[in-house]
């Protein structure tokens, strides 16, 4: 049963998953290539600064991979108002777990690209003394970040249209309120509290922040 779900989901996800693989493979190589092309050499400070500039790309790719994978995994059920899924003789939790599990497996494809790109890039680069390469840690972080994005969007996509509308409407209302408060220059405490709750050390989106370093001290 899971194999059949896996096959159908692969059909829907494979294009973006393979694109994610290529991009994931390219980012670490590009970061090291750009270091060489700048002509500033592999001085430790230059390397760390250059690596930091590419950190955002990993986070964006992880977020985009999770979002795309979730939307493609649930989109077909959502468009059919979940009638097919609901008419199948399996418990709803089991069905949701199978869909979620299949999507999670395909999320590993871009992560594999990141890992291979990082390992190959690091193997071909001369890393200055005192610095270390972290291809495995970077990949694990990429996996975690893409899973967080995947889980959030799945929770929305797997719901009914009405529930999805409520969730998205709620998020939209919060963002709009924060934006207006920011313009008006009031409620800064609330804005910073929400920012902390989401992005601070224990916030649910904290994995996207901070340094995504392939090479660091």
């Amino acid at each position: 049963m899971f194999a059949a779900i896996l096959r159908t989901q692969w059909k829907w996800t494979r294009g973006p998953a393979l694109l994610g693989f290529i991009l994931g493979f390219a980012i670490p190589l590009l970061s090291l290539f750009s270091l060489r092309s700048t002509g500033i050499g592999f001085a430790a400070a230059n390397v760390v600064r250059e690596m930091q500039q590419y950190g955002l790309l990993y986070a964006v790719l992880a977020g985009a991979s999770g979002l795309t994978c979730a939307m493609l995994s649930w989109g077909h059920d959502h468009r059919g108002r979940h009638v097919y899924a609901l008419s199948l003789p399996v418990t709803r939790t089991r069905y949701a777990a199978m869909r979620l599990g299949a999507g999670a497996i395909f999320l590993l494809v871009p992560a594999l690209g990141v890992f291979l790109g990082a390992v190959i890039g690091v193997a071909t680069a001369a890393i200055p003394t005192g610095l270390h390469a972290y291809p495995f840690s970077l990949t694990m972080r990429f996996v975690l970040a893409s899973f967080v994005a995947y889980a959030i969007i799945s929770a929305i996509s797997a719901s009914s249209t009405k529930a999805s509308a409520y969730i998205l409407g709620g998020i939209g209302a919060v963002v709009a309120t924060l934006f207006l408060l920011g313009i008006a220059g009031v409620g800064q405490d609330a804005v910073s509290w929400i920012g902390q709750a989401l992005f601070a050390e224990h916030g649910i989106l904290s994995v996207f922040t901070g340094g995504w370093m392939l090479i660091d001290v």
Binding site: M1, A3, A4, I5, R7, T8, K11, W12, H76, G80, V83, Y84, L86, S87, L88, P89, V90, T91
Partner: protein, 300 residues
Amino acid sequence: MTYAVETEKLNYTAGRGEKAFHVTDLSLHVPKGAVFGFLGANGSGKTTTFRLLLALLKPDSGRITVLGESMPEEYVSVLAKTGYVPERPHVYPSLTVREAIDLHRTFYPTWDQKWADELLGEFNLVLDRKQSALSKGEAGKLQMLLALSQRPELLVLDEPTDGLDPVVRRDLLSALLAYVNDTQATVLISSHLVHELERICDWIGLMDHGNLLVEMPMQEFKNGIKRLRLASAPADLSNAPFTLLSREEESNGSQQWLVRGWTDGMHEFFTGRGATVREVVDLDLEEGFVEILRSSRANR
């Protein structure tokens, strides 16, 4: 009599305010082995009822028993024995015919691949064609193939032939009847094509505005609904052995009555009251259906 589907005082509300739709105190009894035709105008509650029976919706109150098991509690077991063809094709349109079959069959331990292959040939379906590229008739055939190849004890078919040409309709209904003859499965089918139901059903249910107006054997329904042409009408209708659905005065003083529950011996009711029945006209299912709806709506 044992029932494949039974509901008692089922209530459900969708939406709010003026747009709310209610299924009210629905008590439905589908005998085991019957081909039960479910008739009703658009928006009468047929699809909602089917979805309640299959636990796609949760009732507000009431009791549902399908194949001897309580719904929605036992939905996994019931759905494993039920073939469902919804109003619109529901298997993911991006899959090919082959992929749809491969996916669907993994969920049904009773799946009959040999018969599925036979139906594929009979319906002329191309395995590698995407469902989104299928014609309406081909999509309908695939839905029926998927439902039948499960070898279900109960088939719930929501307008399975709606919008299909007569040849495709005949193919689908032939396959359905062959299966029913072979297995004595119960069929619950809705359709706008009243004549089609008249041909294949042995029980009939009639729904309007979320209420079940009629539920009876087809033969009884067809034989019991008559148009009476009366030369003179009785003044007293107390203790009438039939139900008067509607009455129309004609210009020459005679009247036309539409009655339900008519049998031959009932002429005496009129003669005993000094009235004369000039003619008793048989109605077909469609005429009966329209007249019952009309009288029900007039009484609302």
